[in-house]
Symmetry: C2
Subunit: 397 residues, 2 copies
């Protein structure tokens, strides 16, 4: 019996495949600072655990396929902070942002259809697309341009009769880009002119620095029936292990159709939904303090990178990632070298080689993604290790 072509073609997580090498380094007694994954160290608000622990029913029953009404209501209130109005039949709770993305792709594209995605992109966009037979067409963006979008014509050139949607994260993972209001409007115009959906992964909505104006696709009124907003509590409230995401769209027919997929998997865990209600009710102070913390970290990482000879990166303005071009021939080799052969006082760092974030072969070979999800002191130490390593690494460009 043969496995399906689609599963064999699926890209392995470029980050997770290096995990055994890091584990090995740790076994040999090396301390490894993880700059490679988006697992924040910020404490999950206690309200989450309190709510989960106060659950006192005797039977843990199936919940509603669309999500519990209290959580849908909490999301409606949350979106109002951003001037976005949703009704209860316009929101579905999902198993993380991951399921929201998977279901959105199934709903807008058939086998062989195409979805435009600015690259470098969150690699799982690729994985989900292959799994359900959707072809990814990358819109290439560049480190030297801060990963902002090319002009309208360049994007239009990529559209074919099979293009069904534009999928993007804003703020961007792995780039840290925040698209300008003009870029958002340009994409909205394209969606309108070419009859496309926009799947807007806005899980990092709160992580926008330097008081920059953030435009959600939920704010572009004239294309609301084309917009699908994907959200998650993972990064927003440092609750990655809860796996609570959501889909929101003013296109009620779309929501009704995706509800069939939700019914197919019956429901999302009850306990985490109860916890998530409390998270979406935290005060603005929570967001403010988390934002300050990340902005401080962004500054540490960016300022350190700017001081390293040969490193190219524009100041990232959102999420908690930065992609840096390093003066190395092969960033994956550099990452492995860091784990296997390098240390400063028996400490080293783990990076995410960026090639896996690109769909176009050959791009990103000298780039890494750095997640600034560690505290100030550790970050400083980690960046100093990187600086040292770049000096000593033999395979430089």
């Amino acid at each position: 019996m043969n496995l399906s072509k689609r599963i064999k073609a699926m890209q392995q997580s470029p980050i997770r495949k290096l995990v055994p090498i890091a584990e090995n380094a740790k076994k040999q007694g090396k301390k490894v600072y993880h700059l490679n994954i988006g697992q924040p160290d910020i404490v999950t608000p206690a309200e989450f655990f309190d709510a989960v622990k106060s659950f006192d029913e005797k039977v843990l029953k199936y919940s509603f396929s669309q999500g519990i009404p209290e959580l849908i209501e909490a999301l409606i209130q949350y979106y109002k902070r951003y001037d976005i109005e949703y009704e209860s039949d316009e929101i579905l709770i999902t198993n993380g942002g991951s399921e929201a993305l998977l279901f959105s792709l199934i709903a807008v594209a058939d086998h062989g259809d195409e979805v435009l995605i600015p690259e470098p992109f969150y690699t799982n966009y690729n994985g989900f697309s292959s799994a359900v037979g959707v072809n990814v067409v990358p819109i290439t963006t560049k480190a030297t341009e801060g990963f902002h979008l090319p002009n309208k014509e360049a994007i239009e050139d990529l559209i074919s009769p099979r293009t069904r949607a534009i999928l993007l994260s804003n703020p961007g993972n792995p780039t840290g880009v925040v698209y300008s209001p003009e870029e958002i409007q340009m994409l909205a115009d394209i969606a309108n002119e070419y009859n496309l959906f926009i799947i807007a992964d806005e899980v990092y909505r709160e992580f926008v620095y330097d008081n920059l104006t953030y435009t959600s696709f939920g704010n572009v009124k004239e294309i609301q029936d084309r917009v699908i907003i994907v959200d998650s509590i993972s990064k927003r409230f440092s609750a990655c292990g809860a796996r609570i995401g959501s889909i929101a769209s003013k296109n009620k027919e779309l929501i009704k159709q995706i509800l069939k997929l939700c019914q197919g998997r019956l429901c999302v865990p009850t306990l985490e939904q109860i916890g998530a209600v409390e998270l979406y009710s935290v005060s603005d102070d929570y967001f403010k303090s988390v934002l300050e913390e990340y902005q401080k970290r962004r500054n540490i990482v960016y300022n350190s990178l700017k001081e390293m000879p040969g490193v190219i990166c524009e100041k990232p303005t959102g999420a908690f990632y930065v992609i840096a071009k390093l003066p190395v021939v092969d960033a994956e080799h550099f990452t492995i070298w860091l784990l296997e052969e390098f240390n400063v006082d028996n400490e080293t760092i783990m990076l995410a080689p960026a090639e896996g974030f690109y769909a176009t072969p050959g791009l990103g070979k000298d780039e890494v993604r750095i997640a600034y999800i560690l505290n100030e002191n550790v970050l400083r130490k980690a960046m100093s290790i990187l600086k040292d390593a770049l000096e000593k690494y033999p395979n430089k460009k």
Copy 2:
């Protein structure tokens, strides 16, 4: 923008679509006994909640994509009770049995491939298959034969060059059938001769009555590289709202490939996995007492049905469902009539019309599925309401 053909073609849950009618009946003050869904009233073992509540980390982090090691180990021990040996790299934890099914289908079949499924079947088999472009080819089984399988030739006739797998639940939902050791061996032979996978949904493994011999596909040694066992804690431990399922297979390459899908969705909720470890460690007494309870219920339902004129059903021997052929023209109409127009002392019942469990058009129109998931007294009352209703219902055959 158009929605995908596949999502529009997806069947709506035949059970969930009647929910608004039941809600309406309740709003009018009617008590509705739900025989339509597999939501047991059995108490979830307290060990689950105790474990969840003892979680004391400050950050709810991402967990391992394959599942936490403790839960994988608990499953290895659990399978040993059934003489099934798995190693830790042969098991993946999933978001319920639902995700296990979805991932298995993606892994064994490409767009346009076929999967054989004995009908009537769990409707979500159909939903997942359409979502990922796999065609369901039904192996028709009959109420009059207790839903046992047809002979080998009849099944072989359904096999085409695009057939990739046989998918089945054993004990069966919605039929309550438990396949004999000979039936299991016949399917194993077919899988071997035609180079097919077997996706064995065995979530009701413990629910086998009358001391019948149960054969898991995990016990058919000679085809272990073809067998994928789907499991779930939902019914086994009455923990439907936890959404913890699993995939097990001696085919390590298959597991390795499906792990890519698991990595794509990052992980399964941490808290429920911690709870599930405790569930899989409950003593045999738990299973024994639950089994006794369900066997008693099965007897009540079956004996009541046998007394109703014109009702046809063979004694079900597993799971907690029975499909009965009723002396009515249209079981869906009868179900709606029960909710909208009938009552005994202001009480009525909700059934699951069985037509939606068949892929072959026209089959099951006069059949319903009854889930015996309510306690003895309520079940007796519900069955007496059914008897009464069948006498008074106008559109009889």
